[in-house]
Subunit: 703 residues, 2 copies
Amino acid sequence: MQIRTSPISSLLTPRSIALVGASDDVTRIGGRPLRYLREAGYQGAIYPVNPKHQVVQGLKSYNSILDLPESPDVAVLAVPASGTLAAVRDCAERGVKVATIFSAGFAETDESGRAIQAEIAEIAARSGLRLLGPNCLGAFNSRIGYYGTFSAILDGALIEPGPVAVVSQSGAYGSHIAHLARQRGLGISYWVTTGNESDIDVAEALRWVVEQPDVNVVMAYAEGIRDSRTFIEALEIARQRKKAIVLMKVGRSEVGAHAVSSHTAALAGSDAVFDAVFRQFGVWRAKTTAEQLDIAYACARGRYPSSNRLGIFTLSGGFGIQMADDAQEAGLDVAPMPEAAQDELKVMLPYASPRNPVDATAQALTDLPLMTRYMSTMLEKGSYDFFTGIFGAGPASPTFAGKLRDALEAASAASKNTILSLTMSAPRDIVRSYEDKGFLVHEDGTALMTALGALVHFRQSFDRRDSALPVASGKPVSFLTPSLSEHVAKRILAEIGIPFPDEILCTEGEDAGAVASRVGFPVVLKIASPDIAHKTEIGGVVVGVKDEQEARAAAAAILERAGKAQPAAKIDGILVAPMIGEGLEVIAGVARDPVFGPVVMFGLGGIFVEVLKDVTFRVAPFGVEEATRMIRDIRGRSMFDGVRGKAPTDIGPLAQLLSSLSVFAATNADTIESIDLNPIRLLEDGARPVALDALIVPRISRT
Amino acid sequence: MQIRTSPISSLLTPRSIALVGASDDVTRIGGRPLRYLREAGYQGAIYPVNPKHQVVQGLKSYNSILDLPESPDVAVLAVPASGTLAAVRDCAERGVKVATIFSAGFAETDESGRAIQAEIAEIAARSGLRLLGPNCLGAFNSRIGYYGTFSAILDGALIEPGPVAVVSQSGAYGSHIAHLARQRGLGISYWVTTGNESDIDVAEALRWVVEQPDVNVVMAYAEGIRDSRTFIEALEIARQRKKAIVLMKVGRSEVGAHAVSSHTAALAGSDAVFDAVFRQFGVWRAKTTAEQLDIAYACARGRYPSSNRLGIFTLSGGFGIQMADDAQEAGLDVAPMPEAAQDELKVMLPYASPRNPVDATAQALTDLPLMTRYMSTMLEKGSYDFFTGIFGAGPASPTFAGKLRDALEAASAASKNTILSLTMSAPRDIVRSYEDKGFLVHEDGTALMTALGALVHFRQSFDRRDSALPVASGKPVSFLTPSLSEHVAKRILAEIGIPFPDEILCTEGEDAGAVASRVGFPVVLKIASPDIAHKTEIGGVVVGVKDEQEARAAAAAILERAGKAQPAAKIDGILVAPMIGEGLEVIAGVARDPVFGPVVMFGLGGIFVEVLKDVTFRVAPFGVEEATRMIRDIRGRSMFDGVRGKAPTDIGPLAQLLSSLSVFAATNADTIESIDLNPIRLLEDGARPVALDALIVPRISRT
């Protein structure tokens, strides 16, 4: 095992371990890790620390960490909350690299617990000691037999190494999913639970595991994310290295979010922003624990399809229909067999339906060599990336299971590139014998289709070429005032390429009529003031102004109304804008997410945003391709395809606008609170976007 | 067992059975049913029929059905397709009540198969013989040990009787779900597979099983519905008798629908209409087979909650959050404990989170009597209809399982009315011991929440008081022409109470100016012709007409344009309508569904219908309460709550309109093809609906 230099690699590949609070009782928290380490044949040094014993579980015991003959890579602290502070001090003094703190009773409980946790974290930080926990179940690396955990799921049996890693904030969840994975025959090489995350968090653990060459898929669990930069980095590394991340993010409901805040000290960002991040970086957000496991199972082999074409083989029409429904729901293409191949199949089995789903009827079971030929033809001629056979409880019979397996194995020789899968309900050893022949085996067809759909999702995500994140660029804008008037905001945003109407600010003393004439009639007049955010409400906007005289009258009226409504407002003048042609209206904006920083929002205007809340987010910055995907996210996306007889809209310029906005937002992350471009009109002559209004709220306003 | 007089009761409660094609080989189609009947100790007469044997499986065998000593209630035909016609003839002659036909090779294969099936059906109909199948797996009634099936799932063990019934078009699906139910410990009393449905169909079988007092829940599977009237009757009987129906309807995707039509001869109605029927009559449409089973499991006890309040007990915060998320998704209310009760819990366990989810932390496990008191308090003070405890893999240990069970049982005494449930991963016998104490036990929390949500759904459905279907009433309208002009359609619909503007038809020779003056300016002028459906396209509509002179000019222009565009059109005159005030626009219509007949559609106008396809359906006729639920179905429903500062809309008058339209549609089911009311404007002064346009297409037009 190569020892890596990543800051937390010591946690997962330690050469020596101290167990503080080591116990002879193998059912106790201080006894279990020692038992597991010895059962697993861990080859590094193990140092029990317990001043009350000379020997623990047959190993020499030490009085204190300070007495150890070397500085261990990991110290596992199986001591109560009250003894933790002293133990951490000792670890820091002895030069321990990572301390794992099991005990609860810190930041998750009350004010004094928070204070002690902060003190512990500070001691560790000063000395370079890394901390896992407190209030966690520790970590393991089954490849080297290292078990720095007291998780009870290991009581019966240890975990086999394999292509799966688990990173979980919750120890209980991490244990549960590992238990389920083991039941499913999935090996787990690396397992980390982070608990209160006083130091090492889910993001850092995730970044470490996705860098391991032997990991194909990570099952992660998070209530919130502390270090969003590392988290995003981990996601992007995973994507580039083709590691699938299947993540359970809880706290999406109001009640759940309340429970999150009472349970941990995590900052739970808005759930919609989490969804956006997951979409942006190709993470699969599992809806259920069962789904998380099903998808990890399918990803464990690290094989992904080149397209979404699925061939379904069934002995019962009903099951075929149900599978086809589920396949379509999962985004798979149940493409029909070529006509000529259908004719071939028809000759072999006249009663069959050879289209796809290919229904060979129960008769196929009476002649397995025929079934083999039948399926071979399907695989050879169908050009399917996925093959699924539906077999129900039939293979539960061991004699039949063997014959069917041989028939399927023979047929599978017809296509080496097809990802083969089956649904069946059979004992684990029979299922395993099919898995060994290369078949993914699920009990439930819907679950299988969801998993295959996830393989397509990951392939598309891994293949994306616009991987390099655009960087924040240019000099940040500095703001001296807590608010900006519309024309100043527009001038700033025009510099980064946001298109606005050709407006002119008519300042005090200038003739509004003459200015309007220069703009070209008809025009719109708007009050220009950094202090008046809601211009329409105070009568500060007049539209459809047709000539110079009307313009002068309108300007006077606006100034009078503004003076009455907000006498203290600083008035820059009157903004005179040309009337803009018809077109679809959209909105874009920037907001600060407490976890992920500046995020860009996009939506269609009008009822889409007001009634349907049909908006989507991305973390800034992002490129034009991501912006294009973002635009296609919204439910009302068919508005761009041309409705009511209108021509389709080219979304390219809009995508460019969103990407530019995102780069600007990232560049000015520290100085801008929010931006609104509402509405942006997509002019019908060429879909050129024009932002009719702009609002920038500097961060200075909040300090 | 009481013998009922329902036409198919003989199929499910036969006193005597003939098995045609009876075999000594118990692995063959002709041998299995006999073996199952004998193993189950069926008490009625069993008559093997096989001319080649004198004795089959120890029973006297007969040469022919005609030779039997009595007319059996059921004849099970285990003969090839080629011998079926003759066997059915014999059954008809011998006075058999129901014949079950296993063989495939009929309407599902080709034209000649369809012809033979039709001939068989005709012979049966003439003689009063009822048919199950062909191409089915038969039926069973485990209460009386009657197994008229060759399903291989019975090879290992028969099925225990219980509160579940299965009705499935597909034999394979019916077998699979029965197998899964047995694994889950659910008993099935009645099981029917209907195959090609040459006579007995899913609807009739469903109606029979929901009338059985010992059935609490039905798991059904259908690709299409043949007899929609009986189907709806069955659903309504089920609702009134508090029998839950959990239905898998396949063929929702395009591919699936294609497979349906190639697999069976069923008429697959539009999937959206199926959804509407299920909503209307309280059926739960299962999204997956696993969900179907989970919900049937929860419904099997026939206990439903009085509200949706759920208390969650957990030892791990993370699981509690996840459960709370899932609960909210399922429509459950994770209501907080009363403050005083929270204080009580806090005293018992200072580290716990007593709000809800109630997190007692892993510490609770160290003191089970305390945990009992803790949960008792939760149950007593929380007023929860549901209680869920999250226990993971803990109870997999038999010693711990017993102690925990005792603790839970003691706590459960605190509330007799709460529906108790647990999540755990443990061997079947341990799970069973918890079920015996009254707990619903699921492995997966998401699945459990969905199931509890379904219990709330069924309770609401069972409690609906507007159960009596409004009947089609009044004399049907007879149409002599294939098309109707707008004003005629409006006159007909005005009679059933649909509100229209006060319009006047200006006929030839009348002065359009004078008529417009009587209507009151401003007015709208529209061409009135049964032959011109798209008035706007030909320039047949002029709006905003302000005086008599304008009215005359507009009328002349309209007539001229109509004459040019459609010279052959019959012109009734010009319809003069008042301009109508502002308001939200909705649409309503009637269409004929191939399965369910007239259905009413409702939606919001504009982009809601054009872009978002945000419409909903109901089968006609229905009452005002159902219409209210229908209006609330649409995604854009918040438009009625008042957006952009507008007052909320009273949807009562609109619901009345939809109900009236549905009664009219049902009354004229044979004479009307479709109706459009588009748009209907909900005037802002009181939300009075006014239909601005009306179109009726008589059925005569299609003949």
